[in-house]
């Protein structure tokens, strides 16, 4: 086990896959000569050259479509979209071309593309650089959506996404690239489907993904130490498809659920997970499930307002206490 950073894990997955298969390429803004905004492609340009490590113009729609077209012929492009906010410009190609081509061609063509993007709010980046958009991607037929919460997942999910014949969107987080964690020394493929139990517990299920897994873990510790509540933390690293069986299993055990997301509430991960709970195990519930989420505002610049807009572990604790009638 190596203790490495999230960005290093992503870089390692790129490097291993590019060394293995000459048709694995990567592209994006500043990923080559400049080494990548988040260093996730550091050193690859020097190693694999400009034909396979492509510094693109700032044309998200164009280069995303180019990646999809190349994938039709068996190329495996890994596209970095510098910020998920810019992915709006790429969505036509991601959704209308990559996600639909297999279906509308009756299985003749497939688009094995990987789109990676930095999601989440960082610090005071304002309305157009702070959006969380996983809700937009997770409702698209034909597109897989995964979101790593630690370096092991970041490495293993990217490895699996590159090998998968389906298009995969990987939602990363601006604030997590320097997070350290254990990654296996040998080659490791994280499943693209399912969920992980990040912490076992018996009294309440906290469901999170990406950064909110960490709020849930911190909340679980507080709940345990200060309130004697045993929380189970479910890491929903696959947002599409969501792990119905895993959600059912944990909630059926604890009989209570809190879903934590950094995104705004409407039509989001929380609404979808709670719908699944209703469909799969409604009669197991001892209390109505609760959502923890951001305020529905364009992200404010002001530090205090920004902090007020985004939830954290304290909001998760509060939600759980309310569920237990202790708030």
């Amino acid at each position: 086990m190596a203790n490495i950073m999230y960005w290093e894990a992503i870089q390692r997955a790129h490097d291993e896959e590019m060394a293995r298969d000459p048709l694995v390429i990567c592209m994006g803004e500043d990923i080559g000569v400049a080494g990548g905004t988040y260093k996730a492609t550091k050193g690859l340009y020097e190693k694999y050259g400009p034909l396979r490590v492509m510094d693109t113009p700032i044309s998200e729609g164009g280069f995303s479509g180019l990646a999809v077209g190349a994938s039709f012929l068996g190329v495996r492009p890994i596209v970095e979209i510098m910020s998920v906010n810019f992915a709006w410009l790429a969505m036509d190609q991601m959704f209308n071309s990559a996600a639909k081509v297999r279906y509308m061609s009756g299985g003749q063509l497939t688009a094995p593309c990987v789109f990676r993007s930095a999601g989440g709010a960082a610090h005071q980046l304002g309305a157009q650089h702070s959006a969380r958009m996983e809700k937009v991607f997770m409702g698209i037929a034909g597109l897989r959506v995964v979101t790593p919460s630690n370096p092991k997942q970041a490495y293993g999910l990217l490895k699996s996404a590159i090998r998968s014949d389906d298009p995969v969107f990987i939602n990363e987080h601006e604030l997590m690239y320097n997070m350290k964690g254990e990654v296996p020394d040998g080659e490791y493929f994280h499943p693209l489907e399912g969920s992980d139990i990040a912490r076992a517990g018996t009294d309440v299920t906290l469901l999170g993904y990406n950064i909110s897994v960490h709020w849930c873990l911190k909340a679980a510790e507080i709940l345990d130490k200060q309130y004697g509540i045993s929380a189970e933390v479910v890491d929903l690293y696959s947002l599409s498809p969501l792990d119905r069986a895993g959600i059912k299993k944990s909630v059926s055990k604890t009989h209570r659920a809190v879903v934590a997301e950094e995104d705004e509430a409407p039509v989001g991960v929380g609404s979808e997970v709670i719908a699944i709970i209703n469909e799969e195990c409604f009669f197991e519930l001892d209390a109505a499930p609760v959502r923890v989420h951001s305020a529905l505002v364009p992200q404010p610049y002001n530090h205090t307002l920004e902090k007020a807009a985004i939830p954290d572990h304290e909001d998760v604790v509060k939600a759980v206490l309310k569920l237990f009638g202790k708030a």
Partner: protein
């Protein structure tokens, strides 16, 4: 083109014309649903360019007016018609429809229904060719109106920057849906628009197949020789409306008649008759034979083919699960 090739191409163009007219009839009979964009009037464009290229070897991609391009690449007209009928035997197994004909066995990479969407896909196909080192080229057929999308400019920039082997064919039929090019586009001559990206370009009559062929030959040679992209504008006209619910109120019947005076099929026919390569009786027989083939084989096949099974509704959304298990479960060998 040699005289025998011209006779073969005439035969193909008559098939393309009659196929499309038969689609119109089937649509009226409600055998075909959805949108239906027909090609009559523009046949010399696809045929002239593809005669200069290598159908089935070069990769072709286009928009939603795609039946003829697919057939020209080698798709079986029976399977194309069955697709319009929504049948399991259709080229896209009834999942695509008129706007999404695919035949990857003949390197027809599909019809796409977002205007301009195929531009970057074509560049991507060219990128893959460049990486793999083949002698194929990518050919992207789109209409003039697609050039007003942002991805047109994004793609021209990247194609020129990376010297991608892609030929952009602009079939300028003067209308984007129901808006004339003068009313939608600041620059009517589309080939001028790529000068900003240093892409060599050419413009010619898109109704005369000999002219299209000569210009396309140079364009194809340029791209295949590794010189990067080329942009070829063909001036043409679609006889029918944009799709089926279009009464063509935005243009005059006189304008339509003027264009029909220079019909691509009749011009080629008359040229062959003048050259003594065929007679009017030969041509009339060809039309009859074509109609009989369409009726007795193409339509019959489409009528008699089975519908897709409802149990297969979700087939083709993702790759076959059994082939993906290592990555879906993490249990890689």
């Amino acid at each position: 083109m040699k005289i025998d090739d011209k006779k073969r191409v005439l035969r193909e163009m008559v098939l393309h014309r009659r196929f499309e007219e038969r689609c119109y009839q089937a649509y009226i009979e409600r055998k075909i649903g959805g949108f239906l964009h027909l090609y009559p009037g523009q046949e010399a464009c696809c045929n002239g360019v593809m005669e200069a290229a290598r159908p089935g070897h070069d990769y072709v991609i286009t928009g939603y007016r795609d039946h003829v391009h697919a057939i020209k690449c080698g798709a079986d007209p029976k399977e194309v018609m069955a697709e319009l009928y929504g049948k399991e035997t259709g080229s896209s197994k009834g999942r695509g429809g008129s706007m999404h004909i695919f035949d990857t066995a003949h390197r027809f990479m599909g019809g796409y229904a977002l205007v301009g969407g195929p531009f970057p896909l074509a560049a991507g196909i060219a990128k893959a060719i460049q990486l793999k080192g083949g002698d194929e080229i990518a050919i992207c057929f789109l209409g003039d109106a697609a050039n007003n999308q942002g991805v047109f400019h994004e793609t021209m920039n990247m194609a020129a920057l990376w010297k991608l082997p892609v030929l952009f064919v602009c079939e300028n039929n003067l209308y984007g849906i129901g808006t004339s090019i003068e009313r939608s586009t600041a620059v009517v001559h589309q080939h001028k628009r790529v000068a900003a990206y240093n892409i060599p370009a050419d413009e010619c009559d898109g109704q005369d197949i000999d002219i299209v062929y000569e210009h396309a030959r140079k364009a194809v040679e340029h791209v295949r020789a590794g010189n990067g992209p080329f942009f070829l504008e063909l001036m043409t006209y679609r006889y029918r409306g944009h799709s089926m619910s279009d009464a063509r109120g935005y243009r005059s019947r006189e304008e339509e008649e003027t264009w029909k005076q220079r019909d691509p099929i009749l011009m080629l026919r008359d040229r062959l008759i003048t050259a003594g390569a065929m007679t009017m009786a030969d041509y009339e027989a060809l039309e009859k034979e074509t109609d009989a083939y369409i009726e007795n084989e193409v339509i019959k096949f489409s009528e008699e083919s089975p519908e897709p099974r409802v149990e297969d509704l979700e087939k083709y959304v993702f790759a076959e699960r059994e082939t993906q298990l290592p990555w879906l479960t993490g249990k890689a060998a």
